[in-house]
Amino acid sequence: MLKAKKLVLFIFVIILLVLAPACSSQEAPEEIVIGASIPISGVLSAFGSYEEWGYQTAVDEINEEGGIFLEEFDARVPVRLVLYDDESSPEKVAENTERLILQDEVDALLGSATPPLVISGAVIAERENVPMVTGIAPIRAFLGANEEGWNWVWDIFFDELEMTEQQFLTMDQVESNRKVALFTDNEQDGIVMGGLWEEKAPQFGYEIVYHADFPVGTTEYGDLIRRAQEAEAEIIIAQMITPDALALWNQMQALDYQPKAAFFEKGGEPVAWWEVLGDTAQGTMVAGYWHPNLDYPGAQELRDRFEADTGQLYSQHIADTYTSAQVLIDAIGRAGSLDKEAINSAIGETDETYVVGPVKFTEGVNQRASALPIFMLQWQDGDLEIVYPPELSTSEFIYPIP
């Protein structure tokens, strides 16, 4: 009898031991690790400072709420953001991204800035099956870098084709001889944009009379400027990094080349453009996808917070980087676990208007990119104002360039 009782007790204990872990919830991880390689130094560092703020602010916000709620563990788990400086070098981005995946064991990644850097990290994320959300990579340059299509990397930025069309429509507001000179560097976006401008110009009644292409880091543009002058181009469009763009614009002034309209994509966007050039930057333009006056939730507040935190003038990159981090955080929350495939699927299901605008990948090109609505910005007295299309404009269009 005693033996039987002992046997029953033994079986009961065994059953308890087996069932106990299944009955209670799994122990939640101590943290969710999100990593990013960003250009804190080097020629693209102007982007890195905005990225650092955007990513960190979104992570700090969710941590103030206790972290991301993961249904699998029935608990909120704080997020740790790991950032490494890629020194504006694609090779360093690849190295950092491998380090983030292999050493820091990140659960998900955020992107760097500009196509060469973003793509360099994206290739590693794709290979290692780690979800990544990025901004600051024009969509066609991003998609064109992987002919087989991205599976793990998601881009929230503008579509170059739409930007091209907006530029030509903006040019229509300027009285000119409709002759355009292009200055494009040999980065991925420079190549893509150069091709698009050449292709689209005739459709809008413009003639590309000169196209200068050159390596990144070129310092002397005298010869190119003279050729544009000789070709009588009254409009210039440049796609180049900020240090190079500054040199080009300074040398244009020195050589007395005064185009009636000037678009400086990428290089003319960071606040350093105005800080360095001052009044001579007045009237220069750059395509935009975000402005604090837009009717997106928290747009003006985001600008105010950035300027209060840093004491610097805002850039539109605070919005797409902040949003990229939010999209990733929301997706992890929807996935309810740290399973990478679940997070990746959840990113794809994003359908919400964030501070940067509507984000929906299923309607985007190739379903891995969400294109933001685009408009034209113009530097006016140290601030970027929307000047086209008219229904969005925040200021009068200044033309020709003073």
């Binding site: 040999n186 240090p243 020195a254």
Partner: protein, 291 residues
């Protein structure tokens, strides 16, 4: 391509060559005296440009005047680095000094990032965005100013090395350090003074780079390479050769860019560099054995 474009390219390049020479003079001096390939040269140039901006904004003065204020600061820093950091490894062969200089270069670059951030900067002077007509062709005024500064600095340095007592001591230390030491010349002090003079010359190079172009903390490497080409062309260690090297490089780049495009400008410079190394390794004005 019109003949005017070609002439403009040549003239533009010629004046730009003055900037190249000014930028390279410090590298040439240090190599000529110490046989040290000073890889911190680029960081000196960029640090000088940043220092110029700091002094200009702090005192509200013209960047040209700031340059003269930065000279003693750079002299002291250069002297201290050579005297107490580089000199101790100089007698252990070329490699330790080169590696030490590499280390200093990395530290300096990271220090600049830490202090000034990574945003692009330029130095705004009255010449920054002005052009002037030379033989009917408009060239940036800063290039013309650069050539004048280059001629004055190189001429002055040439006279200093050949005529002054200190210059003769430097030459003695260059030609035969051991005998110079026996004759009572403190070679370590001479090396430190030479390096410090090089650092002060970099203040002019930094001013010109910052005014003509833009810069970030990592820009120094580009100018180090450019300076190498100038020094090799003109003759390693030859002060006057540096001016010739700069002008040849600038002019050839200008003509080459007019022919084949600005995208190949740097490639043209390095082709000449390789050609010179093959044909005349000691450069145009270099003495036999300097290679």
């Amino acid at each position: 391509m019109t003949i005017n474009t070609l002439l403009a390219g040549a003239l533009n390049g010629f004046f730009l060559g003055g900037l190249y020479a000014t930028v390279a003079i410090s590298l040439s001096l240090v190599f000529g005296v110490m046989r040290l390939v000073n890889v911190t040269h680029g960081e000196y140039l960029i640090a000088a440009a940043y220092l110029n901006i700091v002094i200009t904004s702090a005192l509200g003065i013209d960047p040209l005047i700031s340059t003269f204020i930065s000279i003693p600061i750079l002299f002291v820093v250069g002297y201290a680095l050579q005297r107490w950091v580089l000199n101790p490894v100089m007698n252990k062969g070329m490699e330790p000094a080169l590696l030490m200089a590499f280390g200093l270069s990395i530290i300096a670059q990271n220090g600049l990032i830490r202090v000034f951030g990574g945003d692009s900067k330029t130095i705004t002077t009255q010449f920054s965005q002005r052009g002037m007509e030379v033989f009917g062709i408009t060239v940036p005024t800063i290039y013309v100013v650069s050539l004048f500064i280059g001629i004055i600095l190189i001429g002055g340095l040439h006279l200093f090395i050949n005529r002054s007592f200190l210059g003769k001591a430097i030459r003695a230390a260059t030609q035969d350090p051991e005998t110079a030491g026996v004759m009572g010349i403190n070679v370590n002090v001479i090396y430190a003074i030479t390096y410090a003079i090089g650092a002060t010359l970099a203040s002019f190079g930094g001013l010109l780079i910052g005014t003509a172009f833009s810069f970030v903390p990592s820009t120094g490497f580009y100018w180090l390479l450019k300076s190498f080409v100038v020094v090799v062309l003109g003759g390693m260690g030859s002060i006057v050769g540096t001016l010739a090297g700069g002008l040849i490089l600038g002019t050839t780049e200008g003509i080459g860019a007019a022919f084949v495009g600005t995208g190949y400008r740097d490639m043209i410079g390095f082709l000449i560099f390789l050609l010179m190394l093959l044909v005349r390794p000691r450069g145009l004005f270099g003495q036999k054995g300097s290679e």
